[in-house]
């Protein structure tokens, strides 16, 4: 499990942690039942406050991504498959929207964007 904290980021550190753990779940790198490090261990490894890691886990738990068993630790919770798929879709949509906005800003129309996607898709598929 990789978690990287950017000190220069404007996002609070706990949000950086929650975002990265969620991403690992969406990508399927963390699956139901996988255990997470304890809040104290994570804080130690990342050299950050225990309160920060605690908040990150509390947020993830409130949103249903993880479960904490007192005395045993925290685990990735069972994810609703449809919901997970929906969230993955949403991430893809967001990336496309970002790209479309950037493309429109420099004057590309829909046809040109489609052509560009086709070309880039081929490139990625060939890798």
């Amino acid at each position: 499990m990789d978690i990287i904290i950017a000190n220069s980021s404007d996002d609070p550190i706990y949000q950086q942690i929650t975002a990265q753990i969620k991403n690992l779940i969406f990508k399927g790198e963390l699956i139901e039942g996988d255990s997470l490090p304890s809040i104290r261990n994570l804080a130690r490894e990342l050299q950050i406050s225990v309160i920060t890691t605690k908040k990150a886990y509390e947020v993830l738990e409130a949103e249903g991504y993880i479960e904490t068993v007192p005395g045993k630790g925290s685990y990735i919770a069972a994810q609703n498959k449809n919901l997970l798929q929906e969230k993955r879709l949403k991430i893809v949509e967001e990336k496309f929207i970002e790209g479309i906005i950037a493309a429109r800003a420099v004057g590309f129309n829909l046809e040109e964007i489609e052509a560009m996607i086709k070309m880039l898709y081929q490139e990625v598929a060939n890798e």
């Binding site: 404007d10 609070p12 550190i13 706990y14 104290r40 261990n41 804080a43 130690r44 050299q47 950050i48 406050s49 225990v50 309160i51 920060t52 908040k55």
Partner: protein, 287 residues
């Protein structure tokens, strides 16, 4: 008993300086940084906790016990590192250990040896042959070798190089892994140890400015920068400190989110560092 250390309305008066009814609490399993400029009252507070000075008023409880009435028991359970460690300069590290170890009921030679090894110290060296940083490490090894439940460190990083300072972070993080122990350290250099501090207690001129989680500070305080024309903004009246220069101004505000909403994009708003916060509080509004 969840509180390792409780300081309530503690006061101490000197002619030139007084500690003004300060209060703060440290819970088990956490690290608290005690920050402030030189002469703010950090060392006085620590000496009062260790009963090296007589308090004029207020209360200090360590492990729920009064720090004067239960001094012996408390000190047995505290690991203490003082800013300028006092040693008998002619003794070797080994002789020094033999002097100190009997004072502690839970002294553990094995742990002591492990730390000496980790710090690259030899027991045969005389104290006077050690650098300031190495003396600090000896004292640290002593503080960590009797299963202390509370570590009190007075300016532990002064005299230590960045590598050892980083090592100290790891050691302190290890100490709190079992959720039973706690660390209280004072410092006027806030750039390294503040990384792992859970709580920050900021003292200035004998008064506690705040004692809260570091995350609260980092998520709320803001450094506002803008053109001189922006100085009229009423929100700036609440600024903790303001500094004008030829080309604009910088101000520290307690609630950057409110500021963000109240301004129309004419300012740059950044997360301050603890060092900047200290600076603004200490300097005030005079600029």
């Amino acid at each position: 008993m969840n509180n390792l250390l409780e300081v309530k309305n503690l006061s101490k008066k000197y002619q030139e300086f007084s500690l003004q009814e300060i209060s703060f609490t440290l819970k088990k399993g956490y690290i608290m940084g005690f920050i402030g400029p030189n002469g703010a009252g950090k060392s006085t507070t620590i000496k009062l906790i260790m009963n090296l000075l007589k308090r004029d008023g207020g209360e200090i409880r360590v492990f729920g016990l009064d720090n004067i009435r239960a001094e012996r028991e408390i000190k047995d359970r505290i690991g203490f590192v003082y800013e300028e460690p006092y040693f008998y300069e002619e003794l070797t590290v080994l002789e020094m250990k033999k002097v100190i170890a009997p004072f502690y009921s839970k002294w553990d030679d094995q742990i002591f040896d492990q730390y000496l090894k980790r710090f690259g110290l030899s027991v045969k060296k005389k104290i006077k042959e050690l650098s300031k940083g190495m003396k600090m490490k000896v004292w640290l090894a002593i503080a960590l070798s009797h299963q202390a439940e509370l570590l009190i460190l007075d300016e532990p990083t002064s005299g230590l190089d960045p590598v050892v300072r980083r090592e100290l972070l790891d050691i302190l993080a290890d100490v709190i892994q079992d959720e039973e122990k706690g660390v209280f350290f004072s410092t006027h250099i806030t750039t390294d140890l503040d990384k792992i501090a859970d709580y920050i207690t900021f003292i200035n001129n004998g008064e506690i400015i705040f004692s809260t989680t570091k995350d609260y500070i980092m998520d709320n305080y803001g450094l506002v920068k803008g053109k001189k024309a922006g100085l009229d903004n009423t929100l700036l009246k609440e600024a903790v400190g303001l500094r004008e220069n030829k080309f604009g101004f910088e101000a520290l505000v307690k609630d950057r989110n409110r500021f963000w909403k109240g301004s129309k994009g004419e300012f740059i708003i950044e997360k301050p560092t603890l060092e900047e916060i200290i600076l603004y509080y200490t300097r005030g509004k005079q600029g």
